[in-house]
């Protein structure tokens, strides 16, 4: 690895043949609590191509955030750890890297943005210092150069008067601005992969669209691949090229975004779609009371091993086999995968 920033690749719209840069195989992450083992991620696999936007969607507690933290090796030691599977980044296996080697990847080649812009920035340092820290760690820039780079990044994320803002503390900025700063920190070293964990959830609806558009625009400019983690299908529809639906630590369905919205296969995906209000053209939510459906039942406890399909207890299509055997994750349509025994019957039923 060199201290110099890797060349910015040309803007690409992630053609299907693009090279895979991140490859996750059968990832298993468990937490060890007083009440037993929690299988937060239970055998997840996916590939991320250069410059692609991949959305991981699911309810809270389905393991999407833990997947992200696992990739970066940020599972707090003592609480939990990766117990199996592999994460390969540009051909390097990440799960076996030393802490020091991993640090050279974090924030440099793979960056992450978190959900809470209000608490994710350090309150006692100026935002300029926090961006500069990233580049001085990874690119060996001196104080002056790092500061200039910080100002440059602030203007890149469209913060007005970046010279003045760089000297301000997080509490002097609004939520939307803080998330822009987070993006600036994450992109300061031109990473190949940006993992954004619910980046807009804590923001005002009007700000949400701005932040998403900014991320997409920068992605195109810098050629960064994005893993966008969200529970909001509206966000998925607006941003993703490919979508993974997760449930109870496992993958339920995976397809290109249009394909998924047109022909959802898994009953859980269908449930999710039925439970969200449609977005009008302006991107504002139009609540139509009485027409939204909720998925009945509750998310299963991850403390016990689930022998069959995790969604079976809440699923209207479930048969005996669903609670006994885990369904294989297989293609039911071209380039469209789902883990469901009754896929044929589900697809045959109108939504």
């Amino acid at each position: 690895m060199t201290a110099v920033a890797p060349a910015v690749s040309a803007p690409i719209a992630a053609p299907a043949h693009a090279e895979t840069i991140l490859s996750v195989r059968d990832l298993r992450t468990q937490f060890f609590t007083r009440d037993g083992v929690v299988r937060a991620v239970d055998g997840v696999s996916f590939d991320l191509k250069r410059g692609e936007t991949l959305c991981i969607v699911g309810e809270s507690g389905c393991g999407k955030s833990v997947t992200a933290l696992s990739i970066l090796g940020l599972i707090p030691a003592g609480a939990g750890r990766i117990v199996g599977g592999s994460v390969r980044f540009e051909g390097t296996e990440l799960t076996t890297l030393s802490e020091a080697e991993m640090r050279r990847i974090r924030g440099n080649r793979i960056s992450m943005i978190f959900q809470e812009p209000m608490t994710s920035l350090n309150p006692v340092f100026t935002v300029g210092q926090q961006i500069a820290e990233s580049v001085s760690i990874h690119q060996g820039l001196n104080r002056r150069q790092a500061w200039d780079r910080a100002i440059e990044m602030l203007s890149l994320v469209k913060i007005a008067d970046p010279k003045r803002r760089a000297g301000e503390y997080p509490h002097q900025l609004s939520g939307g601005m803080r998330q822009r700063v987070m993006i600036a920190i994450a992109l300061a070293c031109n990473p190949q992969v940006l993992i954004a964990d619910e980046p807009t959830t804590a923001l005002d609806v009007t700000i949400q669209a701005q932040i998403l558009n900014l991320m997409l625009e920068l992605k195109d400019r810098l050629g960064t691949a994005i893993i966008l983690i969200t529970h909001d299908l509206g966000v998925v529809a607006e941003t993703a090229q490919r979508v993974i639906v997760m449930y109870a630590g496992r993958k339920a369905e995976e397809a290109a975004v249009d394909e998924l919205f047109r022909h959802p296969i898994h009953p859980y995906t269908r449930g999710l779609m039925a439970s969200i209000p449609r977005r009008s053209a302006a991107g504002r939510r139009s609540q139509v009371r009485g027409r939204l459906q909720e998925i009945t039942g509750i998310v299963p406890s991850l403390r016990e091993e689930i022998p069959g399909c995790a969604f079976a207890p809440r699923c209207g299509f479930a048969v005996d086999r669903c609670t006994r055997e885990q369904p294989p994750f297989e293609a039911h349509r071209p380039a469209h995968f789902a883990a469901c025994w009754e896929a044929a019957r589900v697809v045959g039923t109108p939504r």
Binding site: L72, L74, E99, A100, R103, R104, I105, R106, G107, N108, S111, M112, F114, E116, T119, S120, L121, N122, P123, V124, F125, E133, S134, I137, H138, Y169, H171, M182, I185
Partner: protein, 313 residues
């Protein structure tokens, strides 16, 4: 900021007035004749009369307080009965050892306690953590005048590394001073260390669970830097507060430590004054120590702005 400091200084006036009133009337609220108390049990009537005259105890009480307060405002802390020297002069003579001891103790305590607390918080619930917490519980229980003698016994009498007792003034050279002050500083610093280590651990534990610590890790910041740069600065405000509280504790400890180690500082001055019932000296020292404590509190509050940009006065 300036306005705040002025406001705070004004707020210390009632506190100091209460202290002055207390110190003054204590002498008069005691049962019996204050002149007789001060002159001692074996004093002749003539001697008692002499003390009364010298301290102005024959004047009406409010007039006495008026004179006392007026003198105080001019920086006159009174005059020693025995040596006939102004209390302030005596204080000046004894100031150096006490200040050197206080600073050395502060340094020793902070230099050991903060790494201990940080380590304990980082490795929470581990063996190291238990060790630090065990030390901190012990530090609260072992009195200065036991720990001090243990140190003398081990390092001065058995190993002969350091002098047993006494103080070498700075004029004799810094190394001499440091050698003479090392054991007292550790003895006095023990409780203080326990206090700071405990609060450092608690404060760090809270900060380490914050989101911005996760952000720092995600940026690829090294563990050492996460702890010492990102976390410690955020954990500083409670730590500094406790250091301030501890300084007050230290003042009481100074009196005992100087006795154990035979250091001719303000603490010895206090003890000698007690034994001779030289009440003006005790009065003066109380005022002085109380004033120092109030000023330390102000300094601590002002230091918050340095650690946390959200605090502005």
């Amino acid at each position: 900021m300036t306005a705040y400091i002025v406001r705070r200084l004004i707020a210390t006036i009632p506190v100091m007035v209460v202290v002055a009133l207390f110190v003054f009337f204590l002498l008069h609220l005691t049962p019996g004749d204050p002149a007789a108390v001060i002159a001692g049990d074996d004093a002749s009537p003539a001697e008692i009369e002499g003390v009364r005259r010298k301290l102005g105890l024959d004047l009406p009480i409010w007039q006495q307080f008026g004179i006392y307060a007026w003198n105080l405002l001019q920086g006159d802390l009174g005059t020693s009965i025995f040596s006939n020297l102004p209390v302030l002069t005596l204080v000046k003579q004894r100031l150096e050892p006490t200040i050197v001891l206080a600073l050395a103790t502060l340094f020793v305590a902070v230099a050991f306690a903060i790494p201990m607390g940080v380590l304990a918080a980082w490795k929470a619930r581990s063996f190291v953590d238990r060790l630090v917490m065990g030390f901190s519980v012990l530090g609260f229980a072992v009195p200065v005048f036991l720990f001090g003698y243990v140190l003398i016994y081990v390092f001065a009498i058995q190993l002969r590394w350091l002098p047993v007792q006494g103080y070498r003034p700075l004029a004799m050279g810094l190394d001499q001073t440091l050698r003479s002050i090392a054991l007292p500083a550790f003895a006095l610093g023990m409780t203080y260390m326990a206090l700071i280590a405990r609060i450092t651990r608690a404060s760090m534990l809270e900060v380490l669970s914050e989101d911005y610590i996760r952000t720092a890790h995600a940026k690829g910041v090294a563990q050492k830097s996460v702890l010492l740069r990102h976390a410690l600065k955020n954990a500083a405000v409670p730590i500094v507060t406790v250091i301030g509280i501890g300084l007050a504790l230290l003042i009481s400890g100074v009196v005992i430590t100087e006795t154990v180690f035979n250091i001719p500082g303000l603490g010895r001055l206090t003890v000698d004054a007690i034994l001779k019932r030289d009440y003006p000296i005790i009065q003066g020292l109380i005022i002085l120590f109380a004033g120092a404590k109030v000023m330390v509190n102000l300094a601590i509050d002002l230091s918050y702005t340095f650690f946390d940009p959200r605090i502005r006065y």
